[in-house]
């Protein structure tokens, strides 16, 4: 039986330009100055408040779960990562206190911190691949049609409850700022197709989406 690989306590990275882009707050905006000042004040406390954790486990995709082109029984590496609960709770508290600017900024900063965990994940993946002598042939995410089964699969396989996660009746992870991912493993140790590609993602309204324009 495969062990769960975990990584905790690494620092997250928050990029101002990404946060402001996600918020649609440009330097031309009348709100920019206020947001910038608040952002600078929040940056350090937000970084200290994040509790990043990554869990990875090698396993086989069970029958009955559809995920992209993955086949049942295929060797995969499933991952669960989060920045923790406290930052979302802080954002919620700020909104309740009618501090809307802080609430919104905290949420956007939490998203940015979560995305920054890709770097930590990459280094964890590379050391896993080195040790196992395998490569990564592709990356997959839960999609709308398979979300229920996949989220349950992640929760059970990565011992969600034991590791401080909770799965709601609607198959949503708590902490809210949690991501899940599946990597297809290959015997080709040189392959490393572990990065997110927007073309396979269903989140069409994502502000981080890199669109491709096709021309005839």
């Amino acid at each position: 039986m495969c062990e769960i690989i975990s990584c905790t306590g690494q620092a997250v990275e928050i990029r101002k330009e990404e946060v402001f882009r996600d918020l649609c707050c440009t330097q031309k905006s009348a709100a920019y100055e206020v947001f910038e000042q608040e952002y600078e004040e929040l940056l350090e406390p937000v970084i200290s408040c994040c509790r990043p954790k990554i869990y990875l486990k090698e396993c086989r995709l069970p029958k009955g779960i559809v995920c992209g082109s993955l086949q049942p029984g295929e060797q995969i590496l499933c991952g669960l990562y989060t920045v923790g609960r406290e930052i979302s709770n802080w954002s919620t508290r700020a909104f309740f206190q009618e501090d809307y600017v802080k609430g919104m900024l905290l949420d956007a900063m939490a998203d940015c911190a979560l995305f920054s965990m890709e770097k930590q994940m990459e280094s964890l993946l590379r050391s896993f691949c080195r040790e196992r002598g395998v490569g990564i042939a592709g990356r997959f995410h839960a999609q709308e049609k398979n979300a229920m089964f996949l989220q349950r699969f992640f929760y059970e396989e990565l011992e969600g409850e034991k590791n401080g996660f909770f799965l709601t009746a609607g198959y949503m992870f708590d902490p809210v700022k949690t991501g899940t991912v599946i990597f297809r493993l290959t015997a080709d140790a040189d392959a490393f197709c572990a990065h997110h590609t927007c073309s396979g993602c269903e989140n069409y309204s994502c502000k981080r989406r890199k669109t491709t324009i096709f021309q005839n």
């Binding site: 918020l23 709100a31 009618e98 609607g170 809210v176």
Partner: protein, 214 residues
């Protein structure tokens, strides 16, 4: 420009530091607190809501104005209580059972406050029974539900069904919203309105309550 217009302008420009002084100046000058609220602060938020809907401004600008409104209200509220000002209406809102997303719902709560509503925000992961109990307790006009997942959308129907079952369906306006929600879905489950953004939600909510009270 009248002082009420100045308040409205100040709110639209998100001048947090000036709004308190302006509201105080209006009160000291003998302006009716209700007029300061309706023709100053709420008018300003209404303009902001319209600009947001037309995509002339974005969420950060709305947030700054909402924060300015909050500051202005902190000066005005004691006076509004003294004169017995009534809210435009009451809304109970939350994110449905199984769903923990709250940003959209928070923005809706903010816009309803900005439209002069008494807002009872139940938070996230709220079941149908809790929505109804709170609505009954506070005498709400509107129940607003938010969902961001296709897996949690069915929870919206549970409330509509519960209202039917209790014979209370006509007592409340049911409004729904969230990324996967559509007008068709609202019709399918028997909700009254789907709105695509927070500003539209507050605008429609206000119209509904005012029409009902006529």
């Amino acid at each position: 420009m009248t002082i009420l217009q100045e308040i409205s302008e100040c709110l639209q420009k998100g001048k947090v530091k000036q709004i308190k002084a302006l509201v105080q100046q209006a009160l000291d000058g003998g302006e009716d607190p209700k007029a300061i609220l309706n023709e100053g602060l709420l008018e300003g938020m209404s303009v902001i809501g319209g600009r947001f809907k037309r995509e002339e401004i974005f969420v950060p600008d709305v947030l700054i104005s909402a924060r300015t409104m909050s500051m202005g209200l902190s000066v005005l509220e004691p006076k509004l209580v003294e004169v017995g000002n009534k809210a435009v209406g009451k809304i109970v809102l939350g994110t449905v059972k199984g769903d923990l997303h709250d940003i959209g719902k928070n923005l809706v709560a903010m816009m309803f406050k900005g439209a002069g509503f008494e807002v009872y925000d139940l938070g996230v992961d709220v079941d149908a029974k809790t929505f109804l109990e709170k609505a009954e307790e506070v005498g709400a006009d509107i129940i607003g539900m938010s969902a961001l997942l296709s897996t949690t959308m069915p929870a919206m129907k549970e409330l509509v069904d519960l209202l039917e079952e209790k014979g209370l369906r006509d007592k409340y306006t049911v409004m729904i919203g969230g990324a996967p929600i559509t007008d068709e879905f609202a019709k399918e489950i028997g909700a009254d309105y789907y709105t695509p953004d927070a500003a539209s939600a507050a605008e429609i909510g206000k119209t509904c309550v005012l029409e009902k009270s006529v």
